[in-house]
Symmetry: C3
Subunit: 438 residues, 3 copies
């Protein structure tokens, strides 16, 4: 049974609720590119799928970078002269400039303001800001909060540590018949941001769970790592694995209500690019395919010219283009159970195509074979033929050894599922043989 | 003189009337894929052009198929309890399910209805239905006829035979300088249906007559055969000929008033595909070019992957897309003399391009040659040049050995006829030499 | 500093006025394809840039042509019976059919009319007509002038000489590091016509002046020659130079107010074609790129199939498509200082791309290099990156040895200037090395 059929026969609404529940479980954790937050997140994933955690020590050289210090935080606040906490990390972990160095000091508002970030255009939202590679400290708060601050002295406290430790990432590896791999990668470093990227994490984990018990053509590798430095670290430590990656997807921002956006790999016409475009065309409304660009998520690293992997990025809203992006409004209400479930369904459909995109040879290539004597045609002529016969004719006509089923689906504008089913009937009827790869 | 010029200097209206007259002569014959109907049709064509008939015995293995029994029919009717013929084959041969086995029986209306086909949406029209590969019998009638049938017993009689015999096809072969062939194929198995495909038959025959007395570059082969099984039989018995087919056209449904539709060969960019598109662009209004698909007419067989011939299909209305298709409304009023004549004209224009699509070499390729001293330019400068000079400049500029005249016509958007005439003037002026093929 | 920056830091209005002043200086001269008119024009150019004049004797065989006689004219007029000059060459040199043989005769109006050309649709304008290759004489006048002529005898006088002499062209050669050349060609044979082609002449001369003092990658050759026969003569005498031309532009009709039109070289996708399209896209409004055609200006000769040089044609209005074309209305008011200056600016931008379109290799191609530690990134994360960082990411991602900076500019839709600046920063940061050509 195809993965898509398996999904469609299950309770999608229940799946959506379960995905959202997992996101809600991860939401409060204060993640960063290193530290207990991401480590805890990976352990929560580990409760659902087999996940191997790797710890890479601070100072390790990884490609052009160095693994940074491990950041941990217990508390942070700003108190006014009366001792009232006017900004409180415990209420919202976005309040702290992520990766802030520790600070405990008193200062007038005028000085404090140099350490505050707000969003004047969205005065009720708290922005998400980071300072990974320059030691700094700061707070993020809503613009209205800031407007409410009176002149005077404030106590600022960030009870964090920035010390030698480790960068942590997790991998779930599902072996298939081939040692060639499909990579599914989701960044896991953002604190309380739901769409970016709890949505990617929970859908990736659910996809892994789906695939765990199946016979697979390819081997699958799910990577959960901090953005940028995590992908770089993983690539640095897995160059040989990277050379076996045949197809890949970065999953991110796939929980909200926007239409799907697929950003192509740097190659632009890799099989994954064509598969994703085909699946979205036939399985979603208003989906858009975007050309590759070197800014974005971790496809930046996988598609750097030295690796140039066939890795695209599946999103709904595109980073930086929606107002909730990197703000406190990217919360658990912003992502929806049914959208998470639909994203999982699209991933399942993509995997189906990758798994079944074989090339066949028509064993009766001279003229049309007589389908009727094999029970594969209608008996009364003169009227229209049905979709199933039409799909069979396409598969027979184009199975000359040059065309994969995806090639046939694209040229005929028939969904891959119907082409694949037609190929199965024809193979059962003795009219097709599968060709070896390559 | 080009074929097109020859056509344009003749009386097109008279040609149209003659084409329609021939269609009217063939209309009453009850054709099928085998039997006297198609044999008689081929004999009528034989009165106009040299046609060699081939008889292939029942049971002969042809590619993946077997030549079926020969079907002949003398009469068929349904009589009501009063002995009135309520359905009468002699009035309309569509009334019989084509290829019906013989039957003579009495049965109640309820049982009879299982053998009746009608068109509820077009209650006055009789559908055309066949049952070639499953032994069966039946009647086709107008929906209103069926609604008029009262309960009671009916006498049904189909005085047919379905016995070992032959499948018959006809070929008209016109040798040219080259042994490479142009194939013109029309199916000749449909009973009283005018557009599908008496139109194709009569235009093909007229085209052959046009070409009979000309010196030809290619050899031409006109095939009149039953649909599907006829093309398959012809291919099975002519594999070596098939390998010499350089260009081909299936002619069908070209008598009605719709704009032209050209369906490309499986190759998609074969010379015939480009020629047909070019000719239609410059010689007809609202013509459309359709991508190849494996359903349709006998291009299905010629374009099966084992043969993959450069054979397209020229139509006006596309099969299955117009209400008259495969009904009694596809009659002699549905096809029009002037449309038949225009179709012949387009075929002539296509043949002209095929015959004259040479590659030339500019013998003075460095700078423009001085056309004026050869009488090929105007004498006063400053104003605009004319179309003829412009066509000459295009031919000179692109005749570098890489471009055929069709390449030049396409790139310049100038009709092939003007490009070809310019090439002739330049050749006469000593500025071009023709290149050998290949 | 880029040429474009140099231009933008100068006083464009003053440049425009200077260009127009030079055009006004050349305007009264009666040029033709040979003779003192074009020779004087070249001497005026010589006052501004180093220009080498070449004289090619009448009768010299040049490609398929022969250098014609040298034409000179002192005066021409038509006098009526009262001795009044009704048409006077000294008022407007277009009045004489260019290259007219000498004549001095008296004839009735009826006979004279056979030698008169007018523009009935533009009754106040004088047309420009020539008769280079057929000995003839004639006058051009406004239609209203002709309507005013009464019956009677007229004295016609064309005090010209058509004798063995020379064809003259001028070249300005600016050597660069490479012996490969960029050709800038402007026809200089038209009499008092401002846009066609004093505009091309003055912009070409100003561009040469701009380049004279710069270090150049390519060598530059500016050719000022009569149309058609001049380009043919130059090509005939410079076959070896022609083989070194890597890029070329014909400059013509670039002084009026119309949007830019760039006509591609015969190759259609030569670097100059892509450069011109890119520069116009980012530096002008409503510019259009036209496919190559073999009619036009001297690109006809450079793009003849034997040479097939990568030479396009930069215009504003396209020849033959605007009413002022080849009439007395193509005068000094028709061209505008600011349009001439803008045309020079576009030429400068094109040269900039040609000069800087290198291929680089990313020296840190595995993953993104850490730009921050090199001062090439922002320090606070979470918000949008700027255009400069984005351009850097594009250059790094595509600098795999396959892509030139123009390739990167095209794929990223970022102006070449920004891509080139990003490459410079990255090279300074040790992240890029330039690749040798070829």
């Amino acid at each position: 049974m195809s993965l898509l059929t398996q999904f469609d026969q299950s309770d999608a609404a229940a799946t959506g609720r379960e995905l959202h529940r997992f996101a809600a479980e991860l939401y409060p954790i204060c993640r960063s590119i290193t530290g207990e937050g991401i480590r805890q997140t990976l352990r929560n994933i580990q409760e659902r799928i087999p996940l191997q955690l790797t710890e890479v020590p601070t100072g390790t050289a990884v490609l052009d970078w160095t693994v940074p210090k491990e950041w941990n935080i217990r508390d942070a606040y700003i108190k006014d002269a009366n001792g009232n906490k006017v900004v409180d990390f415990k209420k919202c972990n976005l309040h702290v400039l992520n990766y802030s160095m520790p600070v405990h000091a008193s200062m007038p508002l005028s000085e404090l303001k140099g350490h505050l970030a707000t969003l004047p255009d969205r005065p009720d939202w708290v922005p998400y800001r980071t300072s990974y590679y320059k030691e700094s400290w700061g707070f993020c708060l809503s613009h209205n909060q800031m407007l409410g601050l009176r002149d005077g002295d404030y106590e600022v406290c960030i009870d964090s540590t920035l010390e030698d430790g480790n960068l942590t990432y997790g991998e779930c590896y599902l072996p298939g018949k081939s040692s060639e791999e499909v990579l599914i990668s989701s960044h896991a470093c953002h604190p309380s941001l739901a769409n970016d990227n709890l949505s990617g994490i929970v859908v990736a984990a659910a996809l892994a769970k789906f695939l765990m018990w199946r016979e697979l053509r390819y081997s699958y590798r799910f990577v959960f790592a901090p953005g940028t430095i995590g992908a770089i670290t993983w690539l640095a430590k897995n160059r040989e694995v990277a050379s076996r990656i045949r197809h890949g997807l970065v999953l991110t921002g796939i929980g909200n209500a926007d239409a799907f956006h697929y950003k192509k790999s740097r190659r632009g016409n890799a099989e994954i690019d064509r598969v994703a475009a085909h699946v979205l065309l036939h399985n979603s409304k208003a989906a858009e395919t975007l050309e590759f660009s070197p800014y974005g998520y971790d496809e930046r690293q996988y598609c750097s010219p030295g690796f140039n992997l066939a890795v695209g990025c599946l999103m709904r809203s595109v980073w930086g283009t929606f107002p909730e992006y990197h703000t406190s409004a990217d919360n658990l209400e912003f992502i929806r159970p049914e959208k998470l479930a639909e994203s999982l369904r699209v991933c399942a459909a993509i995997v189906d195509v990758l798994e079944n995109n074989e090339r066949y040879r028509n064993l009766s290539p001279y003229g049309e074979p007589q389908l009727g004597k094999r029970g594969l045609y209608r008996s009364t002529g003169g009227g229209a033929i049905g979709d199933e016969i039409n799909a069979q004719l396409w598969v027979l006509n184009l199975s000359d050894g040059q065309n994969s089923l995806l090639d046939i689906a694209e040229r005929s504008a028939i969904p891959f599922t119907a082409i694949s089913a037609a190929a199965e009937r024809l193979r059962d009827g003795g009219l097709l043989s599968v060709l070896p790869e390559g």
